[in-house]
């Protein structure tokens, strides 16, 4: 098992004929993702790596049958219409490897998905991977690297940092272990699936025995996860790390969500919240994989 994505998930790629769309659809196919169709308005009737391209999502669904998940390689300012189109065509999972999505567009996408009972990953997500089964988004980059770094196994990974999602998986592989699903939740100010929503999915997944949470300064995502654990919605062992302990308040480190505002969202408050509910908060990312290994041995 895995969460959100596996070898049977039927995947659509929106923006498939663009530079990133073409490159990543090839990677996804090579890795084993069941890509059944692509959409680019005005490019219907063509093919990309033998994947049929349609003008609209509705047409793709009609011709190819039900689609479970769409990946949007569409520029930030235009992506709202693409996602709403997919949701209206009945697609229930959307992965958004797209940065610079205007804030209220993101809020509208998230609110609309909620009405439709759909799951949004991102915006600003590198994507997700269920090793040995399927990948959606950029994560892993090439088949060669992805096969080297990701192995299948009992560890769930959820991270606010894209690069560290891959890095944690690499470290887990190095310890002789593997990953059920790894998700980069996205680096934009507001995202569709936060830690607090991803953890209960891992709770229901039989394959996942332990979860790694890679947090960052800014926002309340880590404190929120502590809250849902307290409510009993996630009961498996959790290993956590919070990046950015030396960051100064008010200074933005790279992406918009990693900022401390008015004393809120600093590393200490996050470490405290997670430690209090019994998570193993490690002091260095180096200790993540060995701690996971120790927990699995018990």
């Amino acid at each position: 098992m895995a969460i959100i994505l596996d070898e049977n998930t039927r995947v659509l790629i929106q923006g498939i004929t663009g530079r990133e769309g073409q490159a990543r659809s090839r990677f996804m196919l090579e890795y084993g993702t069941k890509v059944v169709a692509g959409v680019t308005p005005g490019r219907g009737g063509t093919e990309v790596w033998h994947i049929p391209v349609y003008n609209t999502v509705k047409e793709a669904v009609k011709e190819r049958g039900p689609i479970d998940l769409t990946v949007t390689f569409v520029p930030g300012p235009l992506v709202k219409d693409a996602v709403l189109e997919a949701l209206n065509a009945g697609i229930k999972k959307v992965v958004m490897p797209v940065e610079r999505v205007p804030l209220y567009d993101a809020l509208e996408i998230i609110a609309y998905a909620k009405r439709k009972g759909a799951t949004i990953i991102g915006p600003g997500s590198l994507g997700l991977i269920s090793p040995g089964k399927a990948v959606a988004g950029w994560i892993g980059g090439t088949e060669e690297l992805a096969k080297d770094v990701f192995k299948s196994g009992p560890v769930g990974v959820v991270s606010r940092s894209g690069g560290q999602t891959t890095t944690v998986c690499w470290a887990i592989t190095r310890e002789g272990l593997g990953v059920s699903t790894a998700i980069h939740i996205g680096s934009e100010p507001v995202v569709g699936t936060t830690f607090a929503e991803a953890l209960p999915l891992f709770e229901k997944d039989n394959e996942t025995q332990v979860v790694v949470l890679f947090g960052e300064i800014g926002g309340t995502a880590e404190e929120d996860s502590a809250e849902i654990i307290k409510m009993g919605k996630f009961t498996k062992p959790l290993v956590a790390y919070i990046a950015g302990t030396s960051a100064q308040a008010g200074i933005r480190y790279s992406h918009a969500s990693a900022i401390i505002e008015g004393g809120k969202g600093d590393a200490q408050s996050k470490i405290k919240a997670l430690s209090e509910i019994g998570a193993q908060v490690v002091s260095s990312p180096k200790n993540i994989a060995p701690t996971v290994k120790r927990i699995l041995k018990r």
Partner: protein
Amino acid sequence: MVRLYEYQGKEILKKEGIPVPSGSVASTPEEVKIFAEKLGKAVIIKSQILATGRFKAGGIKFASNPQEARSLADELLGSEIKGFKVEKVRVEEKIDILKEFYCSVIVVSSYKIKAPVLMFCTEGGVNIEEVAASHPEKVLSMPVDVLEGIRKEEIQTALSKIDLDSQLIETISDILFRLYNVARKYDALIVEINPLVLSRNGKIYAVDCRLMIDDSSAARHPELDFEIPRDTSKPLTELDKIAWKIEENDYRGVAYFMQLASIDDIKKGGYVGFHGMGGGGAMLGADALTRHGMKLANYADSSGNPPASKVYRLAKVILSLPGIEAYVACSPNIASQEMWHTARGLIKAFREDLKDKIGFPVVVLWAGNKEHEATEILMKWCKDLPIKLEVYGRDYIYELDFIAKRVRSLIEEYRKIKSER
């Protein structure tokens, strides 16, 4: 986020029908005097800087006549307050305040909300979260469904449940309704009026305004006048402005730069030019250097697979920081982006700017896509430079303390070479 000045915020409030005290923005003492004469009463002169706590820092002054206004403006204009140079002041009528309130619209990212939240408090000048916790009866906190918007009647009903004088409900709900429209129309992460006041003659005014626009929406607002559409919680330096030009018209990947120390401080020594290559990992590299006693002259990050030309331009900006004692390009990430583009960008910048820098430390840590190829070409094309170059790969991702110590000892060697010459 893009922070707007108080005067810009107030102009927007006024346009959207929220009353603000009469006033104008001015950049010379003479203009201030003229505006004060026009207002014909006691005035406030408020420094326009992108920082809070202006009053305590001496950035807000009261004048009873135009002549006094002129001389106070003369003191404020050109002075430095909280690290910002005062280039403009807002002159406005002094309101005779009877009561103060707080109101805002803030986008909340928490899983429970993920929406703009309309907030109001029956006390002004407060820390809203503290009051919300200790006196919930004084606070209205109302998430708004962005697809539906909000109706004035809903706000009225909500206001009638808190401890607010019932005569004020209609007026306040109108202000809050308009404030939500300001947030929506201008793509604000935060719009805050603290305080909103009731004057002795029974009128409502927004006495202050804090407005922050979402970076990714900035392009939708050409009417707003700001230098760089991103967070400017520190005054921008010349280099910050130059670095933004790299990003401005090139959407391939991200090149982020922020100067953290002044040029004068950097020249005193102990500073490192820092170049991260991927958000979360870059932060870990910065943490490690700080832990080992080095100071960051800047923070920079190239991510999202930028081409070599973009990395080159970013590296040139970092290398132009005078007095840095090392260049650290650190990405303890298994990167999905192809590192050889980064390598090619660095080589060109190093060959141009480090050809005479004997013993200058350059420490590189990268991993992931095309890592070995990147290392190979970087070593090959920097072999004839007099610098001390050390390149590390994926086996060192978790050895950041080691990397930081290497940077430290290379800096010590570099200082020895410099003192001997």
